[in-house]
Each structure stands twice: as structure tokens, then as C-alpha cells.
Symmetry: C2
Subunit: 328 residues, 2 copies
């Protein structure tokens, strides 16, 4: 019952005292991290309302926006990831959680279209079934920062079809298509037959699309292929490769493009065509990915977190790599 | 096409430059208020992520929380209002939008259980159908700050039944019950037969209820009756009256209680019993409400907004009573 004696009297709350009182009533549990998250959430939420003098109508509009966003979500649609994407939050979360040393491949955001049912295919397999797509051979490697190949990495790869839709966006989706999981070989190599990616609009028939219109923003992403790398002991690494010259290369609606991830496609030459069993002149994507270990990733994340929090003037300690107030 | 030339290059976005770039891309429209709201929203959202170094797992947990909140919403349930209520935001929004001079009745939050189908009843009518409720006669007046009665005010009144549920919380809800609309008479009077309100838990079988458990908070509201006053030219006024001595009087889960809104019930005496046609000894609620005009309300809101924004060091002007940056 110690809890009750700590509970503040919640009476006569005003614009000026509601924030500390909400934080105090939220502060009765044992989970230090959750308490810190709620402290910051409530502070920012209330400061937002105070700085904007948010009107009752605007507040209700926002609540109904969130309601509609929730209600359009389904097994194959995640409107809140889209919202996070277009507000730059997803880029920020990825940057905070998966910092990279200068010699590793940079990350990019997950987006809402990864699924967990991609088939594991042998290297060299065709992962795209769209007959309208322009065939593209991808020849890649995955190595560590010393240049050593990393074998046995599961690489989850997904892209749209030639109409700019992921398979899950088709109501009559059958088998997964334009997605697969490969495993890197002893030389760290993986390769597959896909299609040349195309630029496409993010789903814009819901509340997020309407918000983009209100903001005078377009809803397009430049052409890209997603890659996710998984191997025990290694950083869970999500990135994408973007095609140079795409009309949306410098205005990605979800802020995912990094210069180091922009690539030029080549054409398959005669020798490669024979080796990989594709027609000469097929589009060719080549990329050498450099991944880091989980230990390297966490150490770098901790180092950058500690520095950033100190720079923000926050007295924090890291517990399980996540900051909580340092009250000692 | 001036728009396009202003568009920043969105490339190589990082923890440090994502915020100004997101704000710039959101800043292409014409609506100054919307641009300011988005500027503040993005700034606070990103600062929240930077101060907490929000993990990918926490981010995904939050997105799924919002998804579930949206999906539990229905015609008769609004989980986002509940969320706003338990985070103190609703209290804040009401305080900002409906400030009261010292001689007017204070406001309280709307809550998620107002409906638009309450029947308009004559004064003196019975608005509660629950036979288990303890009968309560309410005799009220509505006046201006000079003490003059205000006639013709529509007063929307709603309370729970004796089990602590609003009618809409019963899946077999038929006619509206424990709710009505009255109209004040020439003397500013309105009166009705309801039931003694009881304390009750807010709906806690959804994500908001689970959050309260995680935070070590209870989900109860002290016994109260809601009142909403509407008349053209007068402030749209929402309040509630709370019973003194309720176990949750000082720990309302949604921060609604103000000392000036806490009342003692009396018992109906012989004379009143005859006058109002109720048994002697029936519970009696008496309250004189004081409302202000829309003009008074907006003037006070503007005055307080201007002062608060200045105190926050923000250079703003009010357009339609809402702040936008003053760039002149």
C-alpha cells in the first residue's frame, strides 16, 4: 500500500500543473524504462498542446485520424508504419538502433511490406513471377568489415511487381511473389533473378495519403529493392538499394534514400549470361554488402547513445542498452 | 512549380538532420496553421525518439498499441478519447479551449460516452430507467456571471446506470437511458429525475486498460453526472458534478475533478417532495451553473493564449483564435 501514500491528490488540475501530476501518477510502477518513456511522452504531448493551443476541433480531428488509421490496418496493411515513415520517425528509429561504422553498408527503413512467408529459394532462383517485369539478375556478396565473406546469412529480399505493387497489395494474392529468402554461400555470395524495380506510390487511399495531399507532398518512393540480413551473432540489418536517376531519387516520400545505397544497373555480358543462365543484355544489379556483428552494433549504439544523451544535457545510464534516468 | 524548386533534396538523412528536412518537406502547402501543427508534431515526435533512444521493439510495440486502439473503436467506443483522457491531454485541451473567469462554473472533460441521440424531455422528467438506481432529484439553474437567468439553454445530461455502465456499454442497448436533453425555463431553471451516480471503471478490456495496469494505475472514475450547455452566442460548455467522499474523488483516472465541482447530495424535504412529485427523503442534487458568452470565452482564450505563448518565448499571432508563427 506504499503506492497509495505516494499517489498525489489529483484535483484542480490546470494547464500549468497537469503535466507533473500526470507524470507522478504514471510513476508508480517498477519498470524504470516504461516510466521514462511515459514521462517523455506526456511531456511532449502536453507541450505540443500548449505550444499550439490545440483547439478542441483539431484534437478531435487528430483522434479520428488515428481511429481511421487503426481501422484500415489489416494483416497486409500497416497504416501506422506508413505514418511513421512519412513523418521521418522510421528513418530516425533505424538510425538510432542500427548505426553503422563508415566501412559498413548503410541501413534503410523496413517499410510496411515485409512479410514472414517468403519462400527460401536456392541461389540463382527466379523470385519474380510478373511476366511484365523487365528481368534483372542480381549478383551480390555479404562480407564483414575486414573483407571476409560471411556464409550462412539469411537474406530476405522483396520488391514490387512491374505495376509498383507488392504481392500483398493484390486482393487475389496467391503464392508470395517478388520476394524470397536466400542463404549466402561459403564465399558470401548470393544471387537471384528478379525484375528491375520501379518507383511507386505508397498506399494513399487512407488517412496517411490524405495527410500527404493536405501537406502538398507527393506519395512516391523511388525504385528500390529491400534486403534484410539475419544471422545469429550479426546485426539484424535492413537496407535497400535505389536506382540512380529515378524521378523520386531525391524526394522519397519516406526519407529512405542514402547516396551510398543508390546504384547504377548494368547489363549482363556474354560471359555472365552463360554463367548465370540469363539472356545477354539482361539488367544486372551488383552489390557487395558489408555487415557488422551484433556486438559491434550494440557497442556503437551504446557509444552514440551515451554521447547524444550527454549532448542533450540528460543524466542517464544505459540498462540493456536503453537509457533510464541515472538517479544515483 | 515554385513548389518543386523549394523542395529540399531528401538524401542521406540522419539522426541530426531528419527533423528540419521533414519540417521543410511538410512546409509546402498554404495552410499556415497546419504547417505550424506539423512543425511542432514532428519536432516533439523526433525529440521523443532522440531523448529515449527509442528501440525498434518499443517503436513496433507503440505502433501495434495504436493499431489495436483504432481497431477496438466502434460507434459506441472511442479508445483514443480514453487514451487522451488518461494521459491528461483531454483535461489540457478543455482548459486551453474553455478557460473560465473566476465567477463562472469550471469545466470538466467530455469523456467518450456522450451520444447524439439523447431524447429532449420536459423539465421534471425521469431520465433514468434503471430500477436498481437510487432515485435522485436534480434541481439546477443556469445563469450568467451577473446572476441573470439564461433561458432556452439546451442542457445535455448523461450518467451511468447503477452498475456503472453507460447505456451504450450494454450490447443490448435499446432506447437511450440515463441521458436526456432539457431546456432551461425563463428563470434559467431545469430539473430532472435521475439516479445517484456511482463510481465506475473506464472501459479497461482494451489497450488503454492494459496500459493502466502496466503503469500501476487504477481505472476508476469517481461518481459524477455530465452536463453540456448549448445556446447560440454562449460558450459551448462541458462540465460534470462529482460526489464528495467518493473513494476516487482525489484519484480520478482521467483527471476531471475540480474542487468547485465536488458537491454534497442532500435529501428532499417534505415541501420539495410535494412540489416536485418525488418521495420525501429522495437524494437531492442542487446546483447553480454560471455560464459565459462565446464572446467572453474567446476573448479570455485569446488573452490567455497570447500571454502563454509569450511566456514560452514563441513569436506568434492569432488567426481565427489559433496561433501561427508571426513572421513579420
Amino acid at each position: 500500500m506504499a503506492q497509495n501514500t505516494q499517489t498525489p491528490e489529483l484535483l484542480d488540475l490546470t494547464i500549468d500543473n497537469i503535466t507533473p501530476n500526470t507524470i507522478r501518477i504514471n510513476n508508480q510502477g517498477e519498470n524504470e524504462r516504461l516510466k521514462y518513456l511515459l514521462d517523455r511522452l506526456v511531456t511532449h504531448l502536453h507541450d505540443f498542446a500548449r505550444e499550439t493551443r490545440l483547439s478542441t476541433d483539431e484534437w478531435m480531428t487528430a483522434l479520428l485520424f488515428l481511429t481511421k488509421a487503426g481501422q484500415i490496418c489489416s494483416d497486409v496493411r500497416q497504416e501506422f508504419i506508413l505514418l511513421s515513415d512519412i513523418l521521418g520517425l522510421s528513418l530516425l528509429i533505424d538510425s538510432i538502433n542500427h548505426p553503422k561504422p563508415p566501412n559498413a553498408t548503410e541501413g534503410s527503413l523496413l517499410g510496411p511490406f515485409h512479410t514472414h512467408d517468403a519462400p527460401t529459394l536456392p541461389n540463382g532462383a527466379r523470385m519474380a513471377s510478373d511476366p511484365e517485369g523487365e528481368p534483372m539478375l542480381a549478383i551480390c556478396t555479404v562480407k564483414d568489415t575486414e573483407g571476409n565473406p560471411v556464409a550462412g546469412v539469411k537474406i530476405d529480399i522483396w520488391e514490387t511487381d512491374s505495376s509498383g505493387h507488392y504481392d500483398v497489395q493484390h486482393s487475389d494474392r496467391g503464392e508470395p511473389s517478388e520476394r524470397c529468402i536466400l542463404v549466402s554461400d561459403e564465399q558470401g555470395r548470393f544471387w537471384f533473378k528478379g525484375i528491375k524495380p520501379v518507383s511507386y506510390p505508397i498506399p494513399h487511399d487512407g488517412p496517411v495519403g490524405k495527410l500527404l495531399v493536405l501537406l502538398g507532398r507527393h506519395c512516391y518512393r523511388p525504385a528500390h529493392v529491400h534486403f534484410m540480413f539475419e544471422k545469429p551473432g550479426w546485426d539484424h540489418f535492413i537496407t535497400a538499394l535505389y536506382l540512380r536517376g529515378d524521378p523520386y531519387e531525391k524526394s522519397d516520400a519516406v526519407f529512405g534514400v542514402k547516396k551510398s545505397l543508390v546504384i547504377d544497373l548494368d547489363k549482363v555480358d556474354k560471359k555472365t549470361a552463360e554463367e548465370y543462365d540469363v539472356p545477354e543484355g539482361t539488367w544486372l544489379l551488383r552489390k557487395d554488402f558489408v555487415i557488422i556483428t551484433e556486438k559491434e552494433s550494440l557497442a556503437l549504439r551504446d557509444e552514440l547513445s551515451t554521447k547524444a544523451l550527454k549532448d542533450q544535457g540528460l543524466k542517464m545510464k544505459l540498462v540493456d542498452h536503453l537509457p533510464v534516468p541515472d538517479l544515483d
